[in-house]
Amino acid sequence: MTTVEDAHALVKAPPLRTRLTQRPRTTTGPFSWITTVDHKKIAIMYGALALFFFLVGGIEALFIRLQLAQPNGTILSAARYNEFFTMHGTTMVFLMGMPLAAAFGNYLVPLMIGARDVAFPRLNMLGFWIFAFGGIFIYSSFGLGGAPNGGWFGYAPLTSTPMSAGLLPGRGVDFWCVGLIMLGIGSVATSVNFLVTILNMRAPGMTMMRMPVFVWMMLVIAFLTLFAMPPVTAALIMVFMDRNFHTNFFNAAAGGDPLVYQNLFWIFGHPEVYILILPGMGIVSEILPVFSRKPLFGYSIVVFSGIAIGFLGWGVWAHHMFASGLGPIAVSAFGLSTMLIAIPTGVKIFNWLGTVWGGAVRLRTPMLFALGFIAQFTIGGLSGVMHSIVPSDTQQTDTYFVVAHFHYVLFGGLVFAIFGGFYYWWPKFFGKMLNEQMGKLNFWLLVIGFNLTFFPMHFLGFEGQPRRTYTYPSGMGWDTMNLLATIGAFIIALGVLVFLVNVIFTARRGEPAPADPWDARTLEWSIPSPPPEYNFATVPIVTHLDDYWHRKYTEDDEGRLVKLPAGAAIDTDAATEAAVDPHSIHMPSPSYWPLVFAMALPIIGYGFVFKNWYLLALGVVWGFFGLNGWAYEPATEPDAGEGH
């Protein structure tokens, strides 16, 4: 078995094998990243690549805003604009939002539940490589006959009509269909892994109701992803078949129905919104108690409202279709179900405020982002409730009001939570504190830029500016607000730049982080920063919610915080290191096979897009080769390591 000592050296004498490839053994150096099954390294790769796509999607957004800064803009052609707004949405949902949830989840879930790794380390690695290849595959379309241009929602029959009919130029939609199906496979693999990890690998005493809220939210989104991906995959397959194999699922002239696509897409699409935002809510629920020095107000109701949002999310999809002509009974029903979602969401917001109330609030950067989340997410939530007033939604849908609404939720909410999470856990991830001054500058630039960009869009929507239009005439009264939005977008870009500078500065000259720099509550802070490969030398025994906090503090008779004298509780860092010989901890061995198998998917994808059956066959054979190798490889090499 691989041991910690091996972490720095190749195993000396690999035994003779008759296998085609030798199993990789290094756990350090650049090569080790490619074959790693360590959840922390996989998380860092997820995070880095998702941040890269965040920048790419952001650059697309800047072009969109430049084009719309003035009426009759000429920065982009209509065709290019349509590609950019499609790819901006697709990137931010599938290549930024979901992978960042996977990044935080991968790093933190095992640490928070006291596990040494995830349940299926190689499946975890497969999820990452599918994400990487899927992202590259979709973006390769820019050089291979046109990028996707049917919108991130890809409504049929615009997307499903064969390319030869020319309703939409290029083969980008083929890339989009195949790429999203591919990413879906990765997401399902990742969510299965999270489900099993959270349900089965919790440390002794870590009951469900002692799990940190972030872990709960990852559990909820794992369920949501598992059930949301199949309908959209079916819809994408149908679109691809209609485009390429002359089926007529959505061709009304042959008896198909375009609204079937909308139903399938939004049955995925609305839970998807919660898949994106719930991890953000989880992050905020971790940050607020730490920086208020108080437990989360109403832990159980926060958990249950998260679950309730997850359930109700399945019953509201048609509120994306209020102008589609579903009839008054259906839209009334979906209007009412949409209103219901506001209740658990409101409960969460009030409980967060209740957490901060009466606390000893430290306004460090993570806390600022968490507070920004509450304020901005509330605005996005309120404009969301307005959509449930169906008649007024028929004025607002497909206008800039909706653009404002979901950016308040996904940027003002999710992205702020993610930045908060970066500042909060960076010391745990990399062992260095991000610079606080730059962090505050980063926060205020984002707050100002974000609100300047998206607040005016509420009014643009009321005043009749539709979404997804590459140009607008002058004299509509939209000029000033569009210009303001563009200026705001560049202030956002400046804020993101400050973050990148901060990351580079921290890597070079950052202040080393102790194990527990924030005086935090959850288990990940009980181990060194960054954690050793095996996470916990001794698997912790959990007795409380916020177990680590209870090793440091107790309450007096009036419920006031009292610090325990040092050494009164077990000091995990020192005590367990001494108690357990880390050499005896068996970790899963690195592997090539998930990477080999993941490579087959883009090959199959190109085969489908270009209808090149040789390529397709090669991909299938390659895939079987990868799966075969994987199947016959033990998770942990029995003869690896130095004899236990």
Binding site: A253, K294, V356, I374, T378, S388, E463
Partner: protein, 379 residues
């Protein structure tokens, strides 16, 4: 320590000022000179109904929003820990009464909201009846609108004339389905939207949808396609011109006049050269096969999806090389049969002078005695 507090306050103040500027800019911009596409300025009962339903809940949302944002800033500043201070914070784990309270109160607000919402949904879904209802079939195309008046069979494009005070019942359809195997030109989803008269309704191929309009004052109300429909989605605009019943009747009569025999002869000459009528139509009651009816194009304020003013120079350029003015799906193999839109006639030998001659001809077929542009375009 004091300095830090000040810094945070200053930053918060800056943010507040920035937000105020944005809000004020938002309000100030409403008075744009030609803004006739504004959901906040309804010009008919249906749009009024929507705004009246929306307004009270909008203000409730504003109050809740300001309250929560204010509370967030308040708790952050009020409970700040001074550097070096170690406060023995009371560890509240929750409060069941409070939590039940803030579950039930929003639920009550939402119940209040639900009743008028459902009532308005059903009211707006009710079809108008009676002898004074104007029935129009709206056919949405890539990227223009065809309007067919069901009683008079007038066929026009991009410009819908309606009488003030009379309900207009719209039947929204896609292009007529083609029956040949492998035919896909059944169109895509569009959305008909004239914010000052009603909310929007998607036009879905294969379905027949309903929407009603009513204007309570004469005027021009702009609208545009609100569902992404491909390359020139942004260039798929329309206008509704609401007229007094007398003016409306006069317009109907003008639209019903066919072209003169001389004009028809002239048109057929151009048709022989450029096959105009393969797509367009020169009869007031006959729709073009795939393109707008040109009989009374001179009497429309704008053309090409309500994008360009109907004048000689724009029409000339359009006939000469339309795809250079509005993005369309050309067909390099056969320029006369573009995938979507008007061909580039300059690529098949048309000269600018020939284009200009046709433009002048089209403009000469005006039924109005008034000079160009028609009087309602100036309102």
């Amino acid at each position: 320590m004091l300095e830090r507090t000040n810094r945070v306050r200053r930053a918060a103040a800056t943010a507040a000022v920035a937000l105020a500027v944005v809000v004020l800019a938002g309000c100030g911009d409403k008075t744009g000179p030609n803004n006739k596409q504004n959901a906040l300025r309804p010009a008919g009962p249906y749009a009024h109904q929507i705004l009246n339903l929306f307004t009270p809940f909008f203000w409730v949302a504003v109050v809740i929003g300001v309250g929560v944002v204010g509370a967030t800033i308040y708790v952050a500043l009020r409970f700040r820990e001074k550097p070096g201070e170690e406060r023995a914070v009371k560890q509240t784990h929750g409060n069941v009464a409070l939590e039940i309270g803030w579950t039930i109160i929003p639920a009550l607000i939402l119940m209040v909201m639900a009743v008028p919402t459902v009532a308005t949904i059903f009211s707006l879904a009710k079809r108008p009846t009676g002898p004074n209802v104007v029935h129009v079939t709206v056919s949405a195309r890539q990227w223009w609108w065809q309007f067919t008046y069901d009683d008079t069979h007038i066929v026009t494009a991009n410009e819908l004339h309606i009488p003030v005070g009379q309900p207009v019942s719209l039947t929204l359809v896609g292009p007529p389905p083609c029956n040949s195997p492998g035919c896909y030109n059944n169109g895509v989803i569009h959305s008909f939207w004239v914010p000052e008269l009603n909310g929007k309704k998607d036009v879905v191929p294969g379905r027949t949808q309903f929407l009603k309009l009513k204007a309570d004052r004469p005027g021009t109300f702009l609208g545009q396609c609100a569902e992404y429909c491909g390359l020139s989605h942004a260039n798929m605009r329309l206008r509704v011109i609401a007229q007094t019943p007398a003016d409306y009747q006069a317009w109907v009569q003008r639209q019903l006049q066919p072209l003169s025999a001389a004009a028809l002869a002239q048109f057929s000459k151009y048709n022989q050269a450029w096959t105009c009528l393969a797509c367009h139509s020169d009869d007031p009651k006959t729709p073009g096969a795939i393109a707008p009816n040109l009989t009374h194009v001179a009497d429309r304020c704008m053309f090409a999806g309500d994008i360009f003013p109907t004048d000689e120079s724009h029409l000339t350029d359009w006939i000469y090389n339309a795809p250079s003015m509005k993005p369309m799906q050309e067909n390099p193999k056969n320029p006369l049969q573009p995938k979507v839109g008007m061909p580039n006639f300059s690529s098949v030998g048309m000269t600018k002078a020939q284009a200009n001659e046709i433009a002048k001809f089209l403009l000469s077929n005006t039924a109005t005695t008034d000079q160009q542009p028609p009087v309602e375009c100036r309102s």
